[in-house]
Symmetry: D2
Subunit: 364 residues, 4 copies
């Protein structure tokens, strides 16, 4: 399938930026899972916009409505469908996208893929807005995980070449992780965050944009999650992460850096710690052979600078097949990274919950 | 599913290092596709071992046998099953893997995942040997693609901090790409390749190992391949790449480096080139919004140093829950990267063929 | 997956009788398919209720709203989501279903399956109302098929032991098939239809209900549709048909009757008819080896009498585990068969479109 | 997918009648399930041939070889691949099938489906021989179920119009069910079995064939198995049953007969029986709303007379598009029904195991 992910937590996402609504269906959930709408809405609010000078001024309330699958505050076990209606639709802004390709956007590739039948308004199905259903699902998963002592800790690792400073992400307690989430600019170091923010503002003022790296740790996962070969934990999570618009790289543990280490340095030696198996280092990011080993799952995602920049750009009119120029008007983010943090967390939570729902596949 | 990948080129992989055989089933292939067994075996030979001082001495012929689905040299349209029998089985070498976890390997995580019922001999289902079925499938896909003017060009981008030098990978012609494939150490620069090889040999002599980065370009792909959201070209390819043991990072186009660029620099501006839409740069790696834009799809995979090093390591006995030490004996690779090149190419070919088989999904 | 069907026409259905709404998502449709909302609504109206003395008085407008995936009257190629809001909700009627099992209904089996968390109001996800999303999808498929000269002809074959009379269903022209669909009681013979109707009315008056058999032919299908083994045309269609509440039997061609024939009589001999391959008889219902042979696909579905009868019945309280009695109040159908006709047609249309979208899987 | 079935017990089947072998891969099985090869081979022997005057003289040992996924007599949790080599291949017999369609067979429909690339020898992938992998899987499932007190009881319900006599199939104990399985002609009544056998022999002598109905009960199933809508127990089982060549009808409980009953008669009233919920009748075949209710699941499958009859038949040459005649030579069954009994049982066992492996989907 295409707009579908999951083996146990089965999520379909639908919608276009300017259709009646966006949303999703979650199929095959166990019955009886509490659905904390407040928690979900808090997570959606972190993804939403309008709070800062460097993000767009579009103000959608992103208020989800449950259509089915929840009864008395818990999942029924039958499909959970939800919708977020699109209320703030300025179709007029986007009419030229039907033929002039914004560089870095899917206008041209989408035109070819869909033979020109796609809804191009506001990017249509390619809009970053489609991450809202992902965050709805991620919010549901977050509640499920936290009730089991599993939580995601994420922060902005870097904006351009400015790096965050602070504690090792693996050592973050639940309270510390929560505290980072509450920041409008989620970095460990407020000072570094300020530098990053200023860099983004500077980009905005020069009609440009910046990107960055988001780092995330899933703490509290048991060992033994993951399936063989194509069902590796890394495979399933990377599949989700690359579904997020703007993500161009994903790495686990030491990631690309591990290629500069020797095997004896890269190997994470095991030791017993109060009856639990642990590793001294975590260069493998909590995963061996595609299966969790009980250490935190640590990964990073590279988020490219927002392609919607206000500078004049040269491009083509793909209907006429001629070179042309283009200036993108309207609202857009100079730096999408802060808003992407809850999206990346959602991917982590979905993947973790999916494997947990798979249960113990051992005969007894 | 777990040991399964694909929407149109549907591949199931089976086998353990010391079971009767390893192999796969490819389901739902169109009927009438030529099956070039010689080409497939050539590709398998590139993955096989015993040719060099830095790779293991295990000499499996890796001769595949077709069980079904091929008739008169072409696919029948019904499932194509193949097997590679395991002839060189030294079970005695591996008996201690049942309880002592080799660092960086899946012995412990696999033990937990499978409740101790997994076949631990030689790494079992986690063995790098399981990439052979992937390469069989990749070889089949390569023939299919090349008959349509699509080809994969891959090389070793780096071993530790030694980088290859040479032409831009996107500009490689089919003949140049072929020439690199024929090298036992596939780098553009033979001089750089020699430095890398020496580094690996040095690691071997100090009972250690090294890793590296493989870079690959898929040339000749049409625009319009990819599905929305979770079906992004990057998602589908990353899912495959992370299924390859030892891969810890995947990036497309400028990858992690794109986060240090401004949007106006990162954006790939479109222009008309003799009637075709092209981009001036390729920081997005030939993919916009998860869909190919007609430029080469460029990506890199980080391959960690082989965890099988001969130095003494500390670890745990996971059956008794006690700390212990371990020295890995027997044959293993000091540098798996050259053998991984055809595996990475196979992932690229499988993904490209999968999307091509999906066909034009436009109503007419 | 569970609430999901299709390989090419991928349909997820959601909703409960008394949730906010019911609906579905159709994924991976080709872009550019015309969406004839009037045709879809006409088909939904045939399934809807309130028109006759023998069906329930519940009057839902069943007006679907498109949430996404349609632009300028055609599919965009991205997920098509639709919802039918539940406006007529009398929750009070159903409160006792939470513990007293209506015989022939899913109250008890659903309670066990979902651990008591299911939405029991009005049957919840088990409600016959959930066939409306199926008919929406069937209506869309019907438009697609008819534009290609493929159409479904269905009629009520029998109610209890009263059989319809009339032309061979395979010989029905498109106009004749349309004419039958327009009847509130879709039989070939109006006289026989009247007898059936009276039988149903009689059952209603004695606080009882009746069932029947629906026969359907898919005319105009090309040869060559169907996949091997588990992908047989019969398998895929039967899977759909048995998803319709109340269907307890499915047969193709001569069906169960074929077991009383000899092989030489049952075999459908081939002959050339003006350049086309045809068979003299159609005991195999247009399918050989799971693949269409170009003759009409003919099948029948057995629809049990509505289990909601007004007579006192004995049953159990499954929460207390005690025997008890029960009288079902409220509105219900004495004979669901006429309303089931468009549902069965929808199954046929979905299956046919699914295989057609699969396209020619032959290499060229 | 096509040659694939299952949500939890995931089975892929491969092979052609005259390819190197036939077999399958079972993916995602829990680790640690005992694999009783003797039991599996006994079940395969019941499907095999050569034992009687009315079945074909082809003598394949049908000896399966495990390629992977079994270690120390138990499943490893990684894919279980098995193969049955084709040893008895008389390709010469089948050469004319490449262009002359045997009535009732898939020669023509398969030719169109696969563009003439299919392996036509011996029916290729359409051969009844492909039920052997199904029976292998069914044998594995049978062992799993019987260790949990669940068993399948099947018998030949009828051959042409001759019906079996004996106990209600739902009341059969495990020992009684076993005793029927041991019969070469599995009927309750030996006398009726003799009549059926004679009828088949008579058909054979007149160069013809006969079919029949197989009835099966799955005893010991817990309530609560089945998924909503498309995942109904009936849907999943019917999908399997119609994958068996020659099955043209499937019905549950009272089946088509239920359409002649009133609702009050058809409804199965619940009562408490020593703390367990039971129903007084079982017209719904142990399933309400697609979900088991704890009563035996009872179903029947209509098996058409073998289409391979020795009488001259008229047909077409589908390559030249001309009318022609045909006499089928070689070995074939005058009555496939006894050999189909373990195949139908296997479908039942696979479906039951698949749902059981799904586990309790209730949050706790």
């Amino acid at each position: 399938m295409s707009s579908y992910w999951g083996k146990n937590f089965k999520l379909t996402v639908f919608g276009e930026s300017h259709s009646r609504g966006i949303g999703g269906v979650i199929d095959d959930l166990p019955a009886g899972i509490p659905v904390d709408m407040e928690g979900i809405e808090r997570m959606l609010a972190r993804r939403a916009t309008g709070m800062s000078a460097i993000t767009t001024a579009r103000k959608e309330p992103d208020k989800p409505e449950i259509l089915s699958g929840v009864f008395n505050g818990r999942t029924t076990g039958t499909p959970l469908a939800f919708v977020i209606y699109n209320s703030d639709r300025h179709s007029a802004d986007y009419s030229n996208l039907a033929e002039n390709a914004r560089p870095g956007h899917a206008d041209y590739s989408g035109f070819v893929r869909y033979g020109g039948f796609n809804d191009y308004r506001g990017g249509g199905h390619f809009s970053g807005r489609l991450t809202a259903p992902l965050v709805f699902a991620g919010g549901l998963a977050t509640g499920f995980l936290e009730s089991r002592g599993i939580y995601c800790a994420a922060h902005i690792k870097s904006i351009t070449d400015i790096e965050d400073e602070g504690p090792d992400i693996e050592s973050l307690t639940y309270e510390q992780a929560k505290a980072v989430k509450d920041k409008p600019f989620p970095t460990f170091s407020d000072e570094r965050g300020k530098l990053m923010y200023d860099r983004a503002l500077e980009a905005k003022n020069s009609l440009d944009s910046v990107g960055g790296v988001i780092e995330c740790s899933i703490a509290g996962l048991p060992a033994g999650l993951g399936d063989p070969i194509f069902g590796a934990f890394e495979s399933r999570l990377a599949e989700l992460l690359f579904a997020v618009p703007a993500v161009k790289g994903v790495e686990f543990g030491a990631g690309f850096g591990i290629t500069e280490m020797t095997g004896s340095a890269a190997n994470d030696e095991f030791y017993m710690d109060g009856g639990r198996v642990r590793t001294k280092t975590n260069n493998n990011g909590g995963i061996n052979g595609g299966i969790t080993n009980g250490m935190p799952v640590v990964f990073r995602a590279a988020v490219k600078p927002t392609p919607s920049v206000s500078r004049p750009q040269s491009t083509v009119n793909f209907k006429t097949g001629t070179d042309t120029g283009l200036v993108i008007k309207g609202r857009h983010d100079a730096c999408i990274v802060p808003r992407a943090v809850p999206v990346i967390e959602s991917c982590a939570a979905l993947c973790a919950m999916d494997f947990l729902l798979g249960g113990k596949k051992i005969n007894d």
